[in-house]
């Protein structure tokens, strides 16, 4: 099993990615399935073997209920320069109130870990990129103070400053 950083600790990844499952695919072990596939197949949820895979181009504006019916959601990076997943992560956490695991998958780079975390991502799946989780993890500490609000720190600095 590939390694995963989850909640700042390195652990084993239990979920496999199914980027393009065939019609009628049945998940017999924990699998992250494309959100469109799950929607179209009308699968019954919750199901311990089903999580969601969201590509940066997916429109999630109507997916609040679906997302909140699974325990694991993966934001998939085809290309690390595509920053849409950052906004998706915030919407999922801040607008949908999703409390499960929100992971980054695919081809992100280690220097994005902290910003992703600030946007609400709490797990990083390294199975598709060449990063060493042990080294990559250091990047989570690049900054210890922030100007703006994030999922990790909902109080922007200007409110914290006024309190101190």
């Amino acid at each position: 099993m590939q390694k995963l950083i989850k909640d700042n600790a390195i652990t084993e990844n239990q979920w496999q990615l199914a980027l393009a499952p065939e019609e009628g695919f049945v998940a017999t072990e924990p699998t992250l399935l494309p959100i469109e596939f799950v929607k179209n197949a009308n699968l019954e949820l919750p199901n311990p073997n089903i999580g969601l895979l969201i590509q940066s181009g997916d429109d999630i504006s109507e997916a609040k209920e679906l997302i909140n019916s699974v325990d694991v959601v993966a934001l998939y990076f085809k290309n690390f320069m595509d920053g849409r997943s950052f906004s998706q992560a915030r919407i999922i956490r801040e607008q949908f109130g999703y409390g499960g695991e929100l992971r980054a998958s695919g081809f992100f780079i280690r220097d994005q870990l902290l910003y992703l975390k600030r946007c609400g991502v709490n797990a990083f799946d390294f199975s598709e990129n060449a990063l060493e989780p042990e080294q990559a993890k250091d990047s989570l500490d690049d900054f210890t103070n922030f100007y703006q609000a994030g999922v990790d720190q909902p109080q922007p600095l200007y409110r914290r400053r006024l309190e101190s």
Binding site: F80, G83, S87, Y115, C119, Y147, Y158
Partner: protein, 554 residues
């Protein structure tokens, strides 16, 4: 000026350390070039035609004497002894060594300076009016809001990988000197009838390949809602902006494709989610930021203080009189003026400045202007708070240092991008064109008689030299591998922002001075009483200019 507290310093120091680590990983081969690319860009580092270029932010154009001395030191020790003021009020070093950039950033951080997000697909330095806080036509000082935006946008976790770059400009004056209508977001701070402060918000303006004048998305946005509203605009853009084609990726294309009304609806949907959350700006924070931009210790002077000395010198000394007319500007405080230092003497690339000149400006700022200066998007420097009675003495010192060329606002005060001499994207050189024109128009009396003319030069359609909004715009184009120049007429920036129109077929470098002379000649022949170049153009149109320039020689 804003002064860093322990939070600002901590964040900046962490950034410097982060970039040092990233650079080391790159140099050791542990970070791929394509992955290092956005990281170095977000620290202002380009790889140019000849060497890397480092762009250092001058937040909304404000810089103090200690910072100027630091820039001088960097120019001297890490570069070739000079740097360049960009059209977005920033400072560019053309020859730094990649491995030394972390050291440069560490040195800059000692004086609260940085290159954070000065490049790359992220929110760039916020620009403003070079006369902010001192202009007579100002309703609200924009600088506290610029600083609010600077802090909010710095290391914003959600918006570091946008479809394209994103630029914000703010003005608080009646006459827009910050070009807010050609920015991704333009903000005009104003007060409503109830005396509340807020913003008129423009969105989707920009130059570049597809120049567009911004549209109003909100007539009055209360000040405490500024950041949540910006966040909503940026989120809509981040999610919906074009990521397939970089030439269609700016927000202006999205706004145009959706239409301003649909775009506004989407922004308001997002805004409703965050508007009353913790990111709403408390009044106390706005007050805190305002406290950094209070008036310096002005002397109480009468309105005519210094007028007699200045008038008598002007009467006997024509050079002083010219300088007084062109390079000094009204100030809202009695007895004070603002002074422009021209970085456009003939023979120097527009906006270039040497290490010792930077130090000279620092000394002059300390002696005459409370230790602060401003950079302008026309690539000059302004001493904001000079006593009128000091002008004769100051003028002498400016002359000694090469800053007294009395050409502010005239044809030779050109905006000019670095072009083919430095920039790897260029189609053509731009600096030699500027120089040819300066040499052609070296008769100051003639130059003054022509009055205000904005001449802007870009070396390619990326339009860093703002050629679309020059009264005369010059654009470098490639014609079968040779460098040619297309001319545009009628562009304007400010309250009546207008994009110029193409005159006709492009010219070679050698033809340009003569063409400019002919264009100016048409104006001189046709102008009405007190009419400026662009006013004449607006009245008579393109045809007379075209006829003159393309007339077949008999």
């Amino acid at each position: 000026m804003y002064i860093y507290d322990q939070h600002d310093s901590q964040i900046l120091n962490e950034r410097v350390k982060q970039f040092r680590g990233q650079t080391e990983r790159y140099l050791e081969g542990n970070l791929k070039a394509e992955e290092f690319l956005p990281l170095r860009l977000q620290n202002g580092l380009y790889i140019q035609r000849l060497a890397p270029m480092l762009r250092v932010n001058v937040p909304y154009g404000m810089i103090n004497s200690a910072q100027l001395r630091k820039l001088a030191h960097i120019a001297r020790h890490y570069d070739k002894g000079y740097c360049h003021i960009s059209t977005r009020q920033n400072v560019q070093f053309n020859w730094p060594n990649l491995a030394e950039v972390p050291d440069i950033l560490a040195e800059l951080s000692e004086v609260n300076m940085h290159a954070t997000q000065s490049s790359g697909n992220c929110i760039r330095n916020t620009t403003s009016d070079q006369f902010a806080g001192i202009a007579g036509d100002e309703t609200v000082d924009p600088r506290p809001y610029c600083e609010l935006i600077r802090q909010w946008s710095s290391f914003h976790p959600e918006f570091a990988f946008l479809p394209r770059k994103f630029k914000i400009a703010v003005t608080g004056a009646e006459s827009d000197r910050a070009a807010i209508q050609v920015h991704d977001i333009g903000l005009r701070v104003k007060q409503n009838a109830a005396g509340e402060t807020g913003f008129q918000v423009y969105v989707g303006g920009g130059l570049g390949r597809t120049p567009v004048v911004g549209q109003v998305i909100c007539e009055f946005l209360p000040e405490q809602d500024l950041l949540t509203y910006l966040e909503a605009i940026l989120r809509v853009y981040n999610l919906l902006g074009n990521r397939e084609n970089k030439y269609k990726a700016r927000i202006k294309i999205l706004v145009r494709a959706l239409g301003i009304d649909v775009f506004r609806e989407k922004v308001e949907q997002q805004w409703a989610q965050v508007k009353d959350g913790p990111s709403k700006v408390p009044g106390a924070e706005i007050e805190r930021l305002k406290s950094f931009f209070t008036a310096p210790a002005y002397e109480t002077l009468s309105a005519d203080a210094g007028v007699a000395e200045v008038t008598s010198l002007a009467a006997e000394n024509k050079a002083f009189a010219r300088w007084l007319e062109r390079n000094t500007h009204a100030h809202k405080i009695a007895g004070y003026v603002a002074v422009s230092l021209s970085l456009k003497p003939t023979g120097v690339a527009p906006g270039d400045i040497t290490d010792s000149q930077l130090e000279a400006i620092a000394d002059l700022a300390d002696a005459y202007s409370f230790g602060e200066v401003r950079t302008t998007h026309e690539q000059n420097i302004v001493l904001g708070d000079v006593k009128r009675s000091d002008l004769p003495e100051l003028w002498q010192k400016l002359k000694d240092n090469g800053f007294a060329t009395p050409n502010i606002g005239t044809l030779t005060d050109m905006i000019c991008c670095p072009g083919g001499d430095y920039c790897s994207l260029a189609n053509a050189k731009s600096i030699p064109i500027a120089e040819d024109i300066q040499r052609t128009f070296d008769d100051l009396d003639y130059l003054y008689d022509l009055g205000p003319i904005d001449l802007n030069i870009s070396g390619c359609m990326n339009a860093c030299g703002h050629h679309h909004v020059g009264n005369i715009g010059i654009l470098g184009v490639d014609k079968k591998g040779a460098e040619f120049y297309q001319i545009q007429l009628g562009g304007q920036v400010g309250n009546s922002t207008t994009l110029g129109k193409v005159l006709g077929p492009a010219f070679s470098q050698a033809e340009i001075p003569d063409v400019i002379q002919k264009l100016v000649g048409v104006y001189v022949n046709q102008r009405g009483e007190g009419e400026s170049f662009v006013e004449t153009y607006n009245r008579i149109g393109m045809e007379p200019f075209k006829e003159q320039v393309y007339a077949k020689a008999d």
